[in-house]
Every structure is written in structure tokens, then in C-alpha cells.
Symmetry: C2
Subunit: 261 residues, 2 copies
């Protein structure tokens, strides 16, 4: 675990899923986790997607947990043979898996409520947690995820993942929250705004300034996103950027409520 | 460059973009590239998302291009100061950047068509290509991407990225195309289908069988995706899986045209 500076707390996301790499499924967990971490003052610094192969998962997990303060994995904790994330996390930490009694009890209760259902090996598979791990519970009817060391292992199904995430935030030691503001330029291309944008970026090394162009039914322009940890400096930078752009002849420029693009 | 076996051709995607890691933007390029590569017989084996930091891009690029047959990067080739992908690719290959005359000519023509527009340093930035690289052209009005070695550097804006991708496929030495078929089970949970699914998977080690559960307004079940390179064995495996599931008492099971989940 290492951070670049004292203020910055970092995380990585490890997406485990052949279905993402085959293009079959569109991942949305990365964005949801990124936003959730941001609110908690944790910067998502890297993300990796690997296939359902034990060695791949273990290698990526060890690389990421060494480098960042936290790692969040998604996917591969269901009952089928291709659900191998618990095995990989246990192997990465060099510990065994055991059947957690709380999860067994939860599954038993669910089985008991369904006429004719019986507990089987596949269900027991979902109760396996690495020795030394703690549960990550959720409000939905799914077996919990778990956390061990600086790793949080969550479900891949987005609704379940988001529910589990609610049990992660209170365990994070967040840094200063990064705030962002967006200045929107319409009718001017990036090549016109590049020089003034760079000048403002250089004058404020503590701020991050990015330009995200859009092309939408003949309307074009760019959303300039300013990010930083000092709200006062951020406000001053927004004002300065708008003034500098207007001085360059960029007329249609204004601050907007951040929207996705 | 290495492949696990002769039949398999692999690729990795490197997404360069603070806007993805901040959660501001939902990436869709990964899925589009995965599907495109699949059609060309190339398996997407890994994906990474890194921030707009030169050292991060260079390190990831070198790790991926060493390990996989191809690497496709997206993002960071525009005209603004945070567009540093060309610099990073050139640094990874140990070569210089130069202004490509074809791109300069393209930009000049565009500038000439706009009254009052003048060529500036930001525009010239988009003409920079690593020495030894070739252009990746597209049908849209945007400067080309480029390829050097086994790396393809494309735009991040999805419409431009997809247009550039059309100039990538004919340069790939694809392997045998992976085909997939989907068996849908409704009204039975994964814990019921896990054992028969695993038995069929073990009997067909050349096939990949994944289970992707769904929960949709009270309807639940799982899409079982079978993937492989031998269409005849794939067809036989689909039949076998359906028969084994029915023998286990799973009634609502049928093959479906693959849909996203």
C-alpha cells in the first residue's frame, strides 16, 4: 500500500469477467464504483479487466493491492464452476477458504422458504470466505461479498454490486474529497481552446484540467472539466478560465452542471 | 508478443482517460473493440484503464505489447495539453514524433474551408506520429490515429474510434474465429444448474461455458454462454447441455439468440 502523497488515497478496480472481454456485456460497475469512491475521497487510479483464469486474477490482484490503498473486485462470486474469485483472493493472500456460518444460515433460511428446495454444493460454494476475511453485506437477497486486507470482493451483477458498495464506504479512510466543475464551450473546437486551457492549467498545477470534445447533431464544442481538492482555488480557476477564453474570442462559454458525455 | 497456443491470437485494450476513472464518462469503447476483434478471430484477453500520466501509460503499454499479439489504445490524441498518448507511445518505442505531412495537409484543407481560421500549434499537435508509424484513417472528419509495431492508437470519442477501427481489421492476423451460442434458463437459479453445467464443461475442455444470472421484475434465471472454435462440437455441447439440464428437472430451458445482459 502506497500513496503518492499524504492527501491522496487511491484505489483500483479489478473486473473479473470473460463476459466483459468477449463484448457480450457492457460493464457499468466501473463508473458506479468510481463515483462512489470519489464521494468518499478516494481516487480511482487504475482499472483492469481480466478473464476467468486463476493465475490472471491472482497476478492482477497482487500487483494492484501492493500499489494502491484499496482494491475492489467485481464478478465471479456466484455458485457456478466459473466463479473462482474467492479461490483467487484466498490464493493471493495465502490463506484457506472456509464456509462462513452466517452465509450458510442465510442460504438455509432461503432454501427452507422454498418448497422442495434443498441445500446443494453449488449453494455452499457461495458461502466460502477467505480465513481472516469479513463479510460485505447488502440489502438485497444475495449472499454477501467479503473483504480481506485492503481488498473488497463484490458481486458482478450491477444491482447487487451497488447494494454491497453501501457496506464498503464506512470502512475506507478517505482523503480530501476531489471536487469538480465543468465549463462548456460551444461552437469552438479544441484547437482554439487548447492554448488558453494549457496556460490556465500551468498556472494551477494543483488543479486537473481536461477537455472532452462533443459532436452532437451539428453542435460541437468541448466540456472543460476542472478538478481539485481546494474549492476556493477551483472557483478562482473556473473564473480565470472563462475570462481567458473570452479574451481569446471564444464567445459561447459558460459554467454548467456537470453532465456525462 | 506471445500466444498461449497457435490457434489463439490475443489483444489487450488500453484505455487512457481520467474521465473514465473519475466516473464522469461511461466507457463503451471496450465492448465495441471486443466485438470487433471477435469477428476478426482475435481474443481480447485483458483491458486496462490508466490516468493521463505519461509514466502510467508507458508502463502499461510496455507490459501489454510484450504479452499480447496486439494492443489497441483509446483516448488522448486530441489537440489539448492533456492529450499525451502519442508522446507516451513514442517514448515506449524509443522513437521521436514527427508531423505527418498527410495529416498536416488534411488540417490545412479544413482550416482553408473555414473563413478566419488559422493553423495553430494545437492543430499541429494532432499531426504528430511516431517515426516508423503508419496512419489509421477513418471516414469521419477527424485527424487519423496511427499504428506502430503491434500497437494501434485510436481516438477516445466513440464515433471516431469506431470509424478508425474499420482501418484496423485488415491489418490483423486473426486466428480461428470464436463462435458462441446461448442457452437461456428461466425460473431456475444458478445453484440448481451449477452441477450439470460443470459436468458438461468438464466433458468439453475445448469449450468455454459461463453462467450469467439475470433478475428482471420477478423473472430470474441465467444465460449460459458456450464459446469455442469448433462449430460442430459447440452444437453438440449445446444439445448435451439442454438434455442434461432437462434430466435434472430444469424445465424452462432453450437456446436463444444471444442478447446482452
Amino acid at each position: 500500500m502506497a500513496t503518492e502523497n499524504q492527501d491522496r488515497v487511491t484505489a483500483a478496480v479489478l473486473i473479473i469477467g470473460d463476459e466483459i472481454l468477449s463484448g457480450r456485456t457492457q460493464d457499468t460497475n466501473l463508473r458506479d464504483i468510481a463515483r462512489y469512491l470519489g464521494v468518499h475521497g478516494v481516487d480511482l487510479a487504475e482499472a483492469r479487466t481480466v478473464s476467468d483464469v486463476p493465475e490472471e486474477i491472482i497476478a492482477a490482484l497482487n500487483a494492484l493491492r501492493e500499489r494502491y490503498d484499496y482494491v475492489i473486485t467485481t464478478g465471479g462470486i456466484g455458485p457456478t464452476h466459473d466463479d473462482i474469485t474467492a479461490d483467487a483472493v484466498a490464493a493471493a493472500f495465502g490463506v484457506e477458504l472456509y464456509e462462513h456460518p452466517e452465509i450458510i444460515a442465510q442460504i438455509e433460511a432461503r432454501v427452507a422458504s422454498r418448497p422442495g428446495a434443498v441445500m446443494n454444493a453449488a449453494m455452499r460454494r457461495m458461502a466460502r470466505v477467505p480465513v481472516g476475511g469479513e463479510l460485505v453485506r447488502s440489502s438485497v437477497a444475495a449472499p454477501p461479498g467479503f473483504t480481506i486486507g485492503n481488498v473488497f470482493t463484490l458481486a458482478g451483477v450491477p444491482t447487487i454490486m451497488r447494494a454491497m458498495l453501501e457496506d464498503v464506504g464506512h470502512r475506507l479512510k478517505g482523503g480530501v474529497v476531489t471536487v469538480s466543475r465543468t465549463v462548456r464551450v460551444e461552437g469552438s473546437g479544441e484547437s482554439v481552446i487548447a492554448a488558453p486551457l494549457e496556460a490556465v492549467a500551468k498556472a494551477h498545477p494543483g488543479m486537473s484540467l481536461g477537455s472532452y470534445p462533443f459532436f452532437d447533431n451539428g453542435l460541437y464544442g468541448s466540456n472543460l472539466v476542472l478538478r481539485g481538492r481546494d474549492e476556493e482555488e477551483l472557483a478562482a480557476t473556473v473564473e480565470e478560465l472563462i475570462a481567458v477564453l473570452k479574451a481569446e474570442g471564444v464567445e459561447n462559454v459558460r459554467e454548467v452542471v456537470a453532465a456525462n458525455s
